[in-house]
């Protein structure tokens, strides 16, 4: 049986976690002061790929388009999925790319990877641009069957198919889980609610083994890293970067802040009169909760 060959596309994004993110006084992101990290949805995509590593011993390549320092996103992804190969497509010409131009770069990269890809994974969306098109567009350019909102999947190695469960959320209708079986190769975008489930001892032993390997590999991630400039990648210059981007952003509007509906009272913990008031309020709330 042919071993599975997987690719994951990931993105370097601002780290929105507390202590790492910084905003300008007008409320917009201060990119210079904000640290960068592997996008949270990219992380979930890597986690989904790791499932195939544990279950099927798949070979995993992770790629990203970004500045030279985006290698840390690849490193973090490697630690999550025990990637064998890391590709970074980095060139000034790639700058200013919209999702379509990014898809072109990634598609070219994936096609350049060793062996034919069976499954390509991407995150659900980017957390900085809130775009979710790069994945589907890359799938379209690759000509792979596209399955979105995947919450779990398995591969039938004999039939060379994937069986994926997808979460469908429609307004006013209860959530639906759709099961799709598709022949390889496929492109999966992973839903944020994705969970890997390892239910047997052998799977858990493999999980521990690959996790340890991932940690070791990520520590020396430069050994698996290959950086491509535009010439090395061999992509058509008119289809990538700003030149290849049909999207024009002509204005960005601030999202208005929602009005607070909660009414808060401020109490001083060192003031005993205040404490008495708090206790009285709690007592009142509790007595209202007691079912008589």
């Amino acid at each position: 049986m042919e071993p599975l060959n997987l690719a994951v596309i990931v993105k370097l994004e601002p780290d929105f976690s507390e202590g790492n993110v910084s905003y300008k006084p007008d409320g917009t992101l201060n990119r210079n002061e904000t640290k960068s990290t592997l996008g949270p949805h990219s992380g979930i995509a890597a986690k989904a790929a790791f499932y195939a590593k544990v279950r099927y011993g798949a070979k995993i390549s992770v790629c990203s388009m970004g500045p030279p320092w985006a290698d840390i996103a690849l490193q973090q992804a490697q630690q999550t999925c025990d990637a064998d190969v890391l590709h970074l497509y980095s060139d000034r010409i790639f700058a200013g790319a919209d999702t379509l131009a990014t898809a072109e770069t990634l598609k070219t990269g994936i096609e350049k990877m060793e062996g034919k890809m069976d499954i390509v994974f991407s995150g659900h969306r980017a957390s900085d641009g809130e775009t979710g098109q790069t994945g589907p567009q890359t799938a379209w350019k690759l000509g792979f069957t596209f399955i979105g909102n995947v919450i779990s999947y398995d591969v039938n190695l004999e039939k060379r198919t994937v069986v994926a469960k997808c979460l469908l959320t429609l307004n006013g209708v209860p959530n639906v889980i759709e099961e799709i079986e598709a022949p390889l190769p496929v492109f999966l975008t992973i839903d944020p609610s994705y969970k890997s489930n390892f239910t047997t001892v052998s799977q858990r032993i493999a999980f521990e083994k690959y996790q340890k390997e991932a940690y070791e590999r990520a520590r020396n991630f430069k050994q698996s890293l290959k950086v491509f400039n535009i010439d090395e990648l061999g992509v058509d210059k008119t289809l990538v970067g700003l030149a290849g981007s049909p999207t024009i952003v002509y204005q960005v509007e601030r999202i208005p802040k929602g009005k607070a509906t909660r009414q808060a009272e401020v109490f001083d913990g060192s003031n005993s009169e205040h404490i008495r008031k708090v206790v009285a309020k709690m007592r009142e709330a509790l007595s209202a909760m007691v079912i008589k």
């Binding site: 239910t199 047997t200 001892v201 052998s202 858990r204 032993i205 521990e208 083994k209 060192s270």
Partner: protein, 625 residues
């Protein structure tokens, strides 16, 4: 259903030794550990010994993990001095028991279980994977069943699909659920147990060296008896680790049931003893008062800045006051020289006091509170440590050597682990897992262990060393009975005869005489009063409240309680309100109820509750252990 040769339940030092040994013998074994990582549920005193008995052999850590063990494993300090102190208020009478500590020993190192077990696990896991096995953390075994027709043993867990094995090693500790599932033994009763509580005290490496006047790699063990017992049967200990101290109180559980007292009170009594206060003494920053008239946001900013500054100060200070870490950070280029670290430290200190009004006072710092039940091997070792194809090791089998100041559990469990592994490897070769071929063989091997002998009989050589150490004790302190025994034992020829006589009579009958109010409380207190040195304390330690100790612990909460109260109004349960080390029990209108959230899984309540370990990954996560 998946099939494996051996399942080991529990990733403590005994289970891990079994895994390592089986793998070294080329046998396939999987170890299931309930904690998220191996080591997070383990706690010990603790000293790890390597022994060389005159008769028979034991399996030591270096036999299992390699002769380079001492250099590779994360050990704390080599215990080079071993002292017993009798206390009464500010008076302490000390006896040097180093000779007893070194008796038939290769070494004794102070250890912290979290990191040591993680190290054991890494080594054992690597070997196990080569044989198709390995360690699976985060899994709680809830049942073992036998299908005699198909000759199958099936392991069921809360987390994974059931699987099949040929043999099982139960290494799930003093509160062994496997023992209950198999009904191999009843739950241990109070008279068979000790309850231990421990605090990890933070103290920089160089200060430890200075306070104890020891070299960078040397360590000391101190035992305490006397008024610090608050009239209970037991005592205290203090062991030096690299940059922490383990301070703990261990008491006969039946003595605590007789007159219930909060375990943390016993620990506090120890910490308040002037000798210990002086040993744990450090310099501690105290936050200045924040100006309440400032804007709320400004106050918050100051609070955060102070927290960060204190953290930085501790970090630099820990480096500055540790010769090894100083060298390491200079080598890695983080600092250029020792002077640079020193000036960085004083710079931070200056900023703390000048900008934020932080002051420094003499006090001590506690980092972790923990508790554990300890099975007294003399009273509760399983005579037949097996059931069908399940072999019990270490605490699960009720094994440990506790004779006077001789306190050994880890090395006993490790020896058991190897013996169980050897027995199973032999059974695998013949594919014979019958009780006669496996269980009886293992029992025989365990009975041959010198440790078992020490659980059964008084070792007259050891007794001599102990008596020699007490030569300065005025004999008239002792009761007529005790002084007669001592007199008899002091003479070589009579000692041999007397020891023989005692062993014929049965060691167990003598225990109530040895382990009595007289030996733990009365004699040491009087001894300290009459012949002790006065030690004055230079400060009053701010001992944390139990609530603060619990707040510092790290839990992965489970909504469902792993403990169920069976009889909410019986006497035992009412005493638990006092005896639970984290106060999980409370009594209202004569009914005892549990709040399991603060439970540290010691098992103090297990005898009369429906007690299970939490599900995989849930519950307490010790940082030191």
């Amino acid at each position: 259903m998946e099939k494996y040769d051996v399942a080991i339940i529990g990733g403590g030092s005994a289970g891990l030794a079994a895994l390592k040994q089986l793998s070294t013998l080329g046998k396939q074994a999987v170890l299931l550990e309930a904690g998220k990582k191996v080591g997070v549920k383990n706690i010990s005193g603790g000293i790890l010994y390597s022994k060389k008995p005159n008769k028979g052999r034991v399996y030591n850590v270096e036999d299992i993990y390699g002769q380079n063990f001492v250099n590779e494993a994360p050990l704390q300090r080599k215990i080079t001095k071993y002292l017993l102190h009798a206390t009464s208020k500010d008076k302490v009478f000390s006896m040097d028991l180093t000779a007893a500590h070194e008796y038939q020993s290769n070494f004794g190192y102070s250890v912290l279980m979290n990191e040591l077990n993680a190290w054991f696990a890494q080594s054992a896991d690597e070997s196990a994977q080569k044989c198709g096995g390995g360690i699976v953390p985060g899994v709680h075994v809830n049942n073992i069943s036998w299908d005699d027709e198909k000759e199958r043993t099936i392991i069921q867990t809360d987390e994974l699909d059931e699987f099949q094995v040929k043999a099982v090693i139960a290494a799930d500790g003093v509160n062994s659920e496997v023992a209950q599932i198999t009904r191999a033994r009843p739950k241990f009763s109070a008279v068979q147990l000790y309850q231990g509580v421990k605090a990890i005290v933070k103290l920089p490496e160089d200060i430890i060296n200075e306070t104890f006047a020891i070299g960078a790699d040397d360590g000391e063990a101190h035992l305490f008896a006397g008024d610090i017992t608050l009239n209970h049967l037991g005592g205290g200990f203090l062991y030096t680790n690299r940059d922490t101290l383990s301070v703990g109180a261990v008491y006969h559980f039946d003595s605590l049931l007789d007159s219930p007292i909060e375990p943390n009170t016993l620990l506090d009594a120890l910490l308040k003893n002037p000798m210990i206060t002086e040993l744990i003494k450090d310099e501690v920053p105290v936050r200045g008062k924040i100006d309440k008239t400032l804007e709320k946001e400004k106050q918050m900013q100051i609070r955060f800045a102070v927290t960060k500054l204190i953290k930085t100060w501790y970090e630099i200070r820990d480096v500055y006051l540790s010769s090894s870490r100083r060298k390491e950070l200079i080598k890695t280029g983080k600092f250029n020289s020792e002077d640079e670290i020193k000036s960085k430290l004083s710079e931070t200190r200056e900023k703390m006091s000048s900008q934020y009004g932080i002051q420094f006072k003499t006090d001590y710092v506690e980092d972790e509170y923990g508790a554990k039940l300890i099975p007294d091997g003399k009273r509760c070792r399983m005579k037949k440590p097996y059931h069908k194809n399940v072999l019990f090791v270490g605490d699960a089998a009720g094994r440990g050597v506790f004779v006077g100041p001789r306190i050994e559990g880890l090395n006993v469990g490790i020896d058991d682990g190897v013996r169980a592994a050897n027995a199973i490897a032999r059974a695998l070769e013949k594919n014979n897992f019958s009780q006669g071929y496996l269980g009886e063989y293992y029992t025989k091997s365990i009975e041959e262990s010198p440790y078992t002998k020490d659980m059964k009989e008084i070792d007259k050589e050891y007794l001599k060393i102990f008596i020699d150490a007490t030569k300065d004790v005025p004999k008239d302190i002792l009761s007529a009975k005790h002084s007669l025994v001592l007199k008899l034992m002091s003479s070589g020829a009579i000692r041999s005869m007397a020891a023989k006589f005692v062993n014929v009579l049965g060691y167990e009958r003598l225990l109530p005489v040895i382990e009595s109010q007289e030996s733990y409380v009365k004699v040491p207190t009087e001894l300290a009063e009459r012949s002790g040195k006065t030690i004055s304390s230079s400060y009053t330690p701010s001992i944390p409240l139990l609530a603060d100790r619990i707040a510092k612990l790290n839990y992965n909460d489970d909504k469902v309680s792993h403990i169920k109260v069976l009889n909410p109004n019986n006497d035992f349960m009412k005493k638990l309100v006092m005896l639970c080390p984290t106060k999980c029990y409370s009594e209202e209108n004569g009914q005892v109820t549990i709040q399991h959230e603060g439970c540290i899984e010691c098992g103090t309540c297990s005898e009369q509750t429906d007690w299970k370990h939490p599900r995989g990954e849930k519950g307490i996560n010790y940082r030191y252990g």
